[in-house]
Symmetry: none
Amino acid sequence: MLAETVPHADDELVRSGRDAAATQRALVRAARRRFATDGYRATTVRQIAADAGVNVALINRYFESKEGLFEACMKRTSNELDSQTPTGTSDISSLIERLIAHVVNAPDGDDPLQLLLLLRSSGDENADCIRRRTLEHFTQRLAVAAGWNADVPDTAPILLRAQLAIATMLGVVMLRTSAGVQPVASAGFDDLGGPLGQVFGILLAGPGAPSGTPPR
Amino acid sequence: MLAETVPHADDELVRSGRDAAATQRALVRAARRRFATDGYRATTVRQIAADAGVNVALINRYFESKEGLFEACMKRTSNELDSQTPTGTSDISSLIERLIAHVVNAPDGDDPLQLLLLLRSSGDENADCIRRRTLEHFTQRLAVAAGWNADVPDTAPILLRAQLAIATMLGVVMLRTSAGVQPVASAGFDDLGGPLGQVFGILLAGPGAPSGTPPR
Amino acid sequence: MLAETVPHADDELVRSGRDAAATQRALVRAARRRFATDGYRATTVRQIAADAGVNVALINRYFESKEGLFEACMKRTSNELDSQTPTGTSDISSLIERLIAHVVNAPDGDDPLQLLLLLRSSGDENADCIRRRTLEHFTQRLAVAAGWNADVPDTAPILLRAQLAIATMLGVVMLRTSAGVQPVASAGFDDLGGPLGQVFGILLAGPGAPSGTPPR
Amino acid sequence: MLAETVPHADDELVRSGRDAAATQRALVRAARRRFATDGYRATTVRQIAADAGVNVALINRYFESKEGLFEACMKRTSNELDSQTPTGTSDISSLIERLIAHVVNAPDGDDPLQLLLLLRSSGDENADCIRRRTLEHFTQRLAVAAGWNADVPDTAPILLRAQLAIATMLGVVMLRTSAGVQPVASAGFDDLGGPLGQVFGILLAGPGAPSGTPPR
DNA sequence: AATGAATGAGGTTTCATTCAT
DNA sequence: GATGAATGAAACCTCATTCAT
């Protein structure tokens, strides 16, 4: 789930030069990185355009405004998270393993940035709404994967637990990428796997579940 | 630890008018709120000055620059967190209870904002350094309170575990304040206490420790 | 004179698609409307192209630049006014009637827009020169139609009087179309015919001429 | 009425340097000239600021935006016209003489520009509304001065006649200032007084009134 | 000490125009 | 001949900062 580390179709570094779709992809790609790492306000459209190797005016041409580009980033991240998340019940231990992998990819991988982006606000109504809905939708997916059943009465706690797991992921990714705090910033899978597995286990599988070291 | 809900010394709403120290306090107080909630770039010095009921030029007079004010906020938050944290070993269950209370105070309380501030960056070298050191120092304090002993070999995991606890706190506070994501945004102590207690318990007290519902 | 409500040659709504001349006509037609109503600067070439159902780049292809298109509009309006104006002496009362009709057609008709266009400036030397010459030429025509004879000494006053008549027409058209000022904006022939006839009469026929209600 | 050629209080060419009110006056003064002669869109805020000898940012500081400055120009022109117009019935022949003087001042005087400004549109709702209302209010004043009585039934024609007089003034001023059309552009009082007097006379005093040459 | 006027750098956006297809 | 992608200049505006009172 989450990021399967599937090679992206738009990974090309050189654009063909006159392909609108490719240009838009390059812009979104560059923008997402900047927005996630530097925040909305600190990012300038000139930086984004330069990163994408594209003229600045094209941002307005294709996305109306800086906010429009941000919204496009949100939508795309939302869609990708959606398509990468299992829709039904999943095996708990493999689910947890995936969550851990997602966090551990930071700070170099592209996937954790997608989560970080969901914490950034542009002040734009639409974008903030998408952000909130994406996080809530993602919560539900995670809860379902963990065996949550909407028909059972009083299942709110399970949703909340799933959300705490997401919060933990977000917090860890922030400390690793944005703050660069040691020791968590330079910790690898061997260091993080154990404790993170316990946290996710106790949140998603309940106290009774085995909370030992996760499988490698 | 953290915020003891001690009445702040600068709670006064009307400044004396010609008291440099009071003016500086009012500025830091107002700035910290804005920086924490809106981020560094989205906050304007005019907003801060207006909130503090002070002329804008005084920011530069007392703090050199906007970044200087930000750095002062960092320092002050760092100091406050320091003075509010127990320096020695502490009772695990009461420690956890405090951590939970700190998170639950959000989004209205003043305390969680101090944590949020630690995630904000101004791009300034000094401020970011203070931020990193504060978080690392805070990590150590928490580990010590949880019984960590620097003399024991291979204690890195315990530091990491404390940091994961901090990450969880930060993540939850962000979801509650900045993103406003449901259900966690409107959850109260009764909802959050249980799961959060389990997470903190398994991280700080180890798997063997009792991870049931925390004392009220 | 002026607009004889002759059916325009380019009234077709669908262009043949690959007819350069038709494309140019459509562009000038659309441009003239926009320039006259919105002014030169407020009009964008994209609006014009969209109105004409034509690709934007064709404006530069056929007219070199936006100013070139403006100049073409001026020239065309100049020519049309020229071909629609009687070259010799005309019956005063029917002449006046035509002037009134021209004004009254506003704000919906196409004719007053041609006059409005003559008041718009693009800052371009050439276009402004055409404008000035057109207005002066038009003045002369009107004076001739009113019985002016270039051979008579000291005939400047008659030219001036003809120009005042044109000024009145322009002023009224502006108030009706651009400013939308009441009551003149919604006045019809029955309201305007009388006073306008008097003004034109006293200017073109002299104080001794009958200045009563114009013929219907 | 209209412009009494009273020496303006803000005629100073050098601002005192640190006087907010003077700066605002200088900006409005410079802006009004530019807007009236070049139009709203063709005028840049930098030009205005340069003309006023002031930093560009002060436009936004004092008037919120370019449109705000335009609106301020409209309001000021509206007020000045208002205060310069007699509120009651006036002697017809002296009234006409004033109207003529107002027109003749162009193209060098400051007064005709105020009228021209009333024909410019910024696209802004508020400013355009002010413009319309000013013109309509000015119409009423003129009608009253010409002996119009609101109690008499069916007096609409008199309003309309007053508006035609205004239209003529506007048209003449445009031809003189904006278009520079000969011979009207270089005509003086001796040339314009006669015909203009006749037009105003026949519009405001009726056909029976003496429409000879105005007194010098 | 404090105020508010003034400044300059930099940000986003618009728009006429040119370049490949 | 026609299209749409791409470009660069310039416009308006914001904002941290400095200056004069």
